[in-house]
Symmetry: C2
Subunit: 256 residues, 2 copies
Amino acid sequence: MVSAGLWDEKDISLRGLETLKKCDEVFLELYTDNIGIRKESLEKLIGKEVKVLRRKDLEEDYERILERSREKDVAIVVGGDALVATTHAMLLLEARKRNVETRVIHSSSVISAVAECGLHAYKFGAIVTIPLRERTMKALPESVYRVIKENLERGLHTLCLLDVDVEAGKFLSVREALETLMSLEEKLRQGAVSTQRKIVVASKLGSEEQRIVFGSIEEVYKVSEELKLPAVIIIPGKLHFTEEEFLKFFELKPKI
Amino acid sequence: MVSAGLWDEKDISLRGLETLKKCDEVFLELYTDNIGIRKESLEKLIGKEVKVLRRKDLEEDYERILERSREKDVAIVVGGDALVATTHAMLLLEARKRNVETRVIHSSSVISAVAECGLHAYKFGAIVTIPLRERTMKALPESVYRVIKENLERGLHTLCLLDVDVEAGKFLSVREALETLMSLEEKLRQGAVSTQRKIVVASKLGSEEQRIVFGSIEEVYKVSEELKLPAVIIIPGKLHFTEEEFLKFFELKPKI
């Protein structure tokens, strides 16, 4: 399993590239992550054919891939750092159960890259994922609110990932995610994500178009259409003065 | 700032390598991380001279490096993912204050790579660092115990980093770290790290010699001399059944 890293094929490590060149078959999984890597550019880089996997191939028909890897060296290229997505951890588990030898080549992940906002890595609490709109229409994700609140009570930052279903063409936008947070506040009213709460949004981290903004939920909401995916929202906890100093560089200036 | 990733120069990303080849000057910072990257191998890889930075160069004399980067493209290669170490975040902050243009190239970090243990990334709480022995001799790090306990109360896993001072030649071993945890339990007696508590140790993650073990603190302590640095200790919280299944592969078998 070769991690593709934050953005595109250039985020693959030298170890990853070396491995891909040696492997007999290379698959590319694109449905869990909304990133810039493409079949054609990866093929050009490694000089061999790349087959794109659908969700079904990994979640239902994984036996076929595992069988193949008994005879050949099979690589699966996945976005971010490989095992952050539970689907990939599950595939590795199934491989181990069948005594298929496995190896993971790591790369960059938003989990550590988010330190670019200037927030200290060791001050992050549990991570949440804000679900796709169609799901939150049925029931608000109260557990998201609870985790943010618990983190805040301990002075910890919360990294909020935005749900995605690439195959279905569904991507939760920053705007929709903020609306979910505001609906949660309206329902639960415990102040965890009031419109005045200052937050950070990091958009397209690791790409040439990376953008980080810092402001109240209300202020960020106003510019949310400009914040392209992939993006994450961070709810800062108690700030160290160096974190505060750092965040100032990302502060939204009111447009006059 | 170019991240060197988990282990050696092969963990640098293609984007990182491209950047290093373009830069006018390349520095290597080795004192915050105990990893396998070396000046000579990096020089061979990028085809230019690499200067090794001492702690003093980054923490006291950073003005000189920042001044240099006004005229030239200067790269600093650092272990892991660049900004996880607060020292590096501080340097970036100082650069920004002086309007020096900065860019961070990310790579793998133990923070996400630890998912190789089979523990879900979103179930980790705040990270702790277990201090070097000479410091814990003076005063036990009670905050480490408190964070582990708070994480456990929320069912969250705790990633424990082991303190290091490469320049002073000081490295906290797994054995010493476990002794610190046991001393904390002895003093505070709240059961967070009793000798029967099951833990994970991940040693040399991302290298050819990677080793992961799972067992009670007592069991892991018995084999702790075999667990080479760099290493991390994970105190698992509430386990999902797939996490349990995964951890079984790392279970220490009693030696008869």
